[in-house]
Amino acid sequence: MLAVQGVTLQYRSDRHLVTATDRVSFHVGESERFVVLGPSGCGKSTLLKAVGGFIRPVEGSITLDGARVRGPGPDRVFVFQEFDQLLPWKTVKENIVFALTASGKLPRRKAEECAMQKIAKVKLGEFAESYPHTLSGGMKQRAAIARALAMEPRILLMDEPFAALDALTRKQMQEELLQLWQESRFTVLFVTHSISEAIRIGTRILVLSAHPGQVKAELKRDDCDESKLQELLFDA
């Protein structure tokens, strides 16, 4: 479904040209939970942004259902790590309605219904009319996930969505994400630097090395455990 072929990404910092990833290739199939695991600085977030269409690869190609990715679009919806991904001037419900109407997916009335359903799914029913700044970090991320799922994208792009949460909430959120997946089996590309998270979330795991990011291994969830991933990550 999603095909990333020999993708090299570069960006310009103050004076240098930084190579974020070097000829990375992988495929993500329908309803897969594909995890990109790597140390910080391996270009995994940049890679995700390229799939999102925010960065153009200098080499290689990214295709979704055979069509080349040319720019950002609502068929690939992001969930970011940052809490400020919710529009602070809109309530939880309005945030979802905004996404659905701005992209032209649903008319307003239908969008409101859909928003309330998704809000109930992520257990934020009581907070539908709350503004984001009144919510806890975990609740904000839940709202962001609800907004992304409401869009029913071809692929959900998650950029360390739970990294800024405390350990307990993180674990709970991982469980909830898996439950949501059981219900609707969406396709997700999930980026993380945490080995335990990769194992908990992924059906397949792509391990990247640092500076620049190169594929070290691609594993099925059942073929690996923490120590194996640890070795892969920290053995130079």
Partner: protein
């Protein structure tokens, strides 16, 4: 009970205002020179009789009307300049250069020049008002746009917003705290500039504003009326600051948890 009352900001401020008025009254009586310093009671009397005679309301309406014209013209030009600055790099340079040049220049200093250019009319006053509003609003709006977080920008693009949708639904609300600050500062500059400009000349088209009222009453040595005029200027300032801007603030940036 008393303690609880004292905890209310409004109660404390009322007590302060009443004591200041009492102090004023006491000093004026002790001084006993109505030409230099009329009593509080005389000022209030003069205020109400000037309101009743329609003189003060007329002057105030005139001033406010002028202010609104200048303010709106200033906002329109600020919007154009900011749009240009956000769209192109040379526009950004232009805005930065112009702002750093003209922001420190008090608008009232431009009045003599404006009088030569536009004559003894409202045109000259509106020109200085535009100068008072423009730079504060443009600079704040522009820096507000730039401070909108990259995450929010990406969210806007992710959901496929059009160019105008992106500006009106992401950039403007995202920058609203700064925009509001710009509007407030611009308003304050404009109000002070306008009163000052009217003091210098206000007789232009037969009816003068508040500044002119103050000046004229002083010429006739009606000092309580001068005080009444000043009181009106203060009242309008408080009214717009506390009623209009405070309400906007409470309904937007405060409710959104975005105040800076």
């Amino acid at each position: 009970m008393l303690n609880r009352l004292w905890n209310l900001g409004a109660v404390r401020k009322t007590v302060l205002l009443v004591s200041l008025a009492a102090l004023w009254e006491a000093y004026a009586r002790w001084l006993n020179n109505p030409l230099l310093f009329p009593t509080f009671v005389d000022t209030v009397k003069a205020f109400f009789s000037a309101v009743a005679s329609g003189e003060l309301p007329k002057a105030a309406t005139y001033t406010i009307q002028l202010l609104i014209k200048g303010y709106i013209a200033g906002l329109a030009i600020a919007a154009l300049l900011t749009a240009f600055a956000s769209a192109t790099r040379i526009g950004a340079d232009l805005l930065e250069t112009l702002t750093s040049m003209f922001n420190p220049l008090p608008s009232i200093a431009l009045l003599p020049l404006a009088l030569i250019w536009f004559g003894l009319g409202n045109g000259a006053i509106i020109f200085v008002l535009i100068h008072a509003v423009l730079w504060a609003v443009a600079l704040n709006t522009y820096s507000g746009f730039r401070a909108v977080s990259p995450t929010l920008r990406m969210v806007g693009q992710n959901y496929g917003l059009s160019k105008t949708g992106y500006v009106t639904r992401i950039l403007i609300p995202g920058a609203f705290p700064s925009i509001l600050t710009g509007l407030k500062v611009g308003w304050a500059f404009a109000w002070r500039t306008l009163i000052a400009a009217e003091l210098v000349f206000g007789v232009s088209s037969g009816s003068g504003g508040l500044g002119w009222y103050i000046f004229e009453q002083k010429n006739q040595l009606l000092i309580p009326n001068v005080f009444a005029g000043l009181l009106t200027v203060i009242l309008f300032g408080l009214l717009i600051e506390n009623l209009i801007f405070r309400t906007i603030e409470n309904r937007t940036v405060r409710r959104w948890g975005m105040q800076v």
